[in-house]
Symmetry: C2
Subunit: 139 residues, 2 copies
Amino acid sequence: MSTTDPPRGRGRPRRAEADAEILDAALAMLRAGGYRELSLDEVARRAGTAKSSIYRRWPSKAALAAEIVRRDVPPPDGDLVHAFDALLNGPMGGVVASLIGEAQESAETRAIILDLLAPYRLAGDDLLGGILFRRLLGQ
Amino acid sequence: MSTTDPPRGRGRPRRAEADAEILDAALAMLRAGGYRELSLDEVARRAGTAKSSIYRRWPSKAALAAEIVRRDVPPPDGDLVHAFDALLNGPMGGVVASLIGEAQESAETRAIILDLLAPYRLAGDDLLGGILFRRLLGQ
């Protein structure tokens, strides 16, 4: 629940509250164990909601994770290369790497990560490539 | 058993022959359906061998796939950037992309792909990065 929502009782939509709890639970799981440990069953359990409530809004684990990255990382402006570096090597960098990994086997996840990275790609793939290479294959 | 082992009976060492059939079967499966469709159960069936014979030599599906890439793609020499482009955008490019993807969740696969790509990385990650970016995220 964000502080700008109207108070419940006189009318905060229950669905918005459920969404906030889903996002909170998923963020905590991503921070603790990364993308691999994110489980929609466990998110539903922690948020006290049905799994169908998650799927109503996010069609997949990848879609939910991408929204969390988007909320957690400020949108890039100015120096896109620097912003891409901050994204990939910041707290959500592992989630982004996992989504790129999953995208190699899933067209749906590919569409999600393409959408997430689109603003950065204005810098040009050649300028971002070295950052990606080191993040995915660094030792 | 390597091919330099003494021949068994009058003939070709049976283990070397089994290895060749495993590699042939796995190559055919990779060509037909990519990494995702490669199944060690099916490789064993087609090669007429036990799955344990595969594991004796290749500890994982990733290790077997990497050996096939290595056999299928000439080792890089001269222009490493060109060779990396040929690797990623050639017939085995999808397999390499899948291995990089799997490496995001598996330390074992990460070691395998790092080993496979090590010769190319002498060119420098910045020069190879754009090729990688487009291969993993191209539309």
